[in-house]
């Protein structure tokens, strides 16, 4: 496959054209990116403004100084009782997602490492929890919780979040565990290991990567959830972080955009930090959504 004398200039020409169009593509991407960043620009200038400054200067103006951000943070923190919301959401997120991933790992072991009839039906039973939108659970959960004393309790919230977060990790971990060679556990079984030992010392350590990945996704979801906290908690002390932002919903006097935006960004800091620290796992988790 040698290039002919006539072909060479044509190829060079094409490469040059390609480079030119590459540069055009780059600048298009820059333009779209700037457009995409616009809401962040707005949020960022807003947290540095006082209430009067916001009203007087218009929403797009640059702030006069960066100093007001401290007062904004303190005031937003105080007004939303953010420590309570963050504490609750951290509890719901860590325990709920952690338990869910562990329970899903157990189930996946039962679905992939042992032979018996009807395995796929058991999987379908668990996975059926993803088919319906959350609206269908709200009324019965409220009613059932009201009757059993779980309404407005942290335990109730943890149980609901755990249950909702079980099916998707089960799908992911089942697929992952079915790739782990069976010889490993067969050999261990020959040596007289119990199933629990095999699960704990062979399968679990091997599944660490995808387990962290799905944990992060589920934690992120629980942290960001609003509706279950709105329906199932009444008292402020049990509220999730996103629900605690709802104090700004009524237009009370003194609720200026600078405070609301500051509180909103503060509430989002933990998920952003986790993403940038554990980006690799996070992206891995996302990739698992489309591969089946």
């Amino acid at each position: 496959m040698s290039e002919t004398a006539i072909g060479a200039p044509a190829a060079a020409e094409r490469r040059r054209a390609g480079r030119r169009s590459n540069r055009a593509v780059f600048w298009i991407a820059v333009a779209v990116t700037l457009l995409w960043l616009f809401p962040f620009y707005y949020a960022l200038v807003t947290i540095f403004k006082t209430g009067q400054e916001y009203t007087a200067g218009g929403p797009l103006a640059l702030p006069a100084s960066t100093a007001p951000v401290v007062a904004n943070i303190l005031e937003a923190w105080r007004r939303t009782h953010m420590l309570v919301g963050m504490g609750n959401s951290l509890l719901y997120g860590v325990v709920g997602a952690g338990l869910a991933v562990f329970v899903a790992a157990l189930a996946s072991y039962g679905l992939t490492r042992l032979d018996y009839r009807g395995r796929s039906y058991w999987f379908l039973l668990i996975f059926s929890g993803t088919i319906f939108p959350f609206q269908i659970y709200l009324i019965p959960l409220f009613q059932g919780f009201a009757r059993t004393g779980l309404l407005d309790s942290r335990l109730g919230m943890i149980l609901v979040y755990t249950a909702i977060c079980v099916p998707f990790p089960t799908l992911v971990l089942k697929n992952f565990m079915s790739q782990i060679p069976r010889d490993l556990d067969e050999a261990a079984r020959m040596d007289g290991c119990s199933e629990w030992r095999i699960f704990r010392s062979i399968i679990l350590p091997n599944s660490r990567g995808p387990m962290i990945a799905v944990f992060l996704l589920q934690f992120n979801w629980i942290w960001n959830d609003l509706i279950f906290s709105m329906v199932l908690t009444l008292d402020e002390s049990k509220r999730s972080i996103m629900n605690s932002l709802m104090v700004f919903q009524g237009n009370y006097a003194g609720t200026t955009p600078n405070l609301v935006v500051t509180a909103t960004l503060l509430a989002s800091v933990p998920t952003l930090v986790i993403f940038f620290l554990l980006r690799r796992y996070f992206m891995q988790g996302l990739a698992l959504q489309t591969s089946d």
Partner: protein
């Protein structure tokens, strides 16, 4: 069914039984959690939707489809359903179209990682946060109106979030801003997994980029595209948080989408049985979408064979 299979020997049967009992121990927590907190409530919700149930009064009489006929004679329900259809169509078209566009745009350009991060970050924020920021974009004294007046288009300014014709598109824009990044990332993963030989061959043959996309990339990307589309549509039509927050001033919140309609009628207007029937209808739409997905997936698989 049982008799049509070859009969397992008694020993195999015993081993399977033992295996099954062991497996059941591993499955039990997941099965219990899903059954108690999701499947039983699901069935209970369907039952409530056929009763005249009110808060804390317990189950009273069976009323047949009365709640459903209430929904179908309620103009608010129809407005909410109409808006929900807009959401479904928009989340079918916008995040997918833009996400695919961005994915193709960013493939192999300088600094692609940085661009990707910018498009993806909105996905990390809570829909509540997205709704709050975009609320101030579209608010009366918000950034959009300020910008319009700033460039001399003062007549175009309006109360976006009070206008029944404008509020849904405004929310869809906010939602698109949030979800496009995820679609883009998933499609980039799909693109990266494609074999490169057919592409190179086509390039050597002198195919235009559009031809390559239309006849080679698109068909190979179709399975990924299908999954991503379903994720996008389901997320779009069940959105609650963002709609709730952005629509906080809207006088007729109950008409915004079916999800908000269901919440409002149940928990604010105390029409519990009616709310249950709306929830069932939302569930049926989700089933319909999942069913279409299964059909299309089957078709793709058949064609691949």
């Amino acid at each position: 069914m049982q008799s049509s299979r070859p009969k397992p020997s008694p020993r195999e049967k015993a081993a399977q039984r033992a295996n099954f009992l062991t497996a059941l121990c591993f499955l039990a927590p997941a099965v219990l959690l899903v059954t108690v907190f999701l499947l039983v409530p699901l069935i209970y919700n369907v039952w409530i939707s056929f009763t005249g149930w009110a808060k804390f009064s317990g189950i009273d009489r069976f009323v047949g489809v009365a709640n459903y006929s209430q929904a179908f004679s309620n103009p608010k329900f129809f407005e909410a359903a109409g808006n929900t259809v807009s959401w479904i169509v928009a989340s079918l078209v916008l995040p997918i179209g833009l996400g695919l566009g961005f994915a193709l745009l960013l493939r192999g350009i300088r600094g692609a990682e940085a661009f990707k991060t910018v498009f993806f970050v909105p996905r990390l924020l809570a829909p509540t946060a997205i709704g709050t920021i975009w609320y101030y974009v579209f608010a009366d004294n918000g950034t959009l109106n300020a910008m319009l007046s700033g460039v001399g288009l003062g007549d175009w300014t309006r109360s976006w979030l009070y206008d029944p014709l404008m509020i849904t598109p405004a929310m869809i824009i906010a939602h698109t801003w949030q979800t496009t990044g995820l679609v883009m990332v998933l499609l980039l993963l799909g693109l990266a997994a494609l074999p490169t030989e057919p592409l190179e061959a086509a390039q050597v043959e002198g195919a235009t980029p559009f031809q390559i996309f239309r006849h080679i990339v698109l068909p190979m990307l179709l399975p990924t595209l299908l999954v991503v589309t379903i994720i996008s549509v389901i997320a779009g039509f069940t959105t609650f948080d963002l709609v709730w927050v952005m629509g906080r001033d809207y006088p007729n919140r109950s008409t915004l989408t079916l999800a908000v309609h269901q919440y409002w009628e149940t928990f604010r207007s105390n029409r519990w049985a009616y709310g249950a029937s709306v929830a069932v209808l939302i569930g049926l739409i989700a089933l319909l979408i999942t069913w279409v997905q299964t059909l299309l997936q089957q078709k793709l698989e058949d064609r691949a064979k």
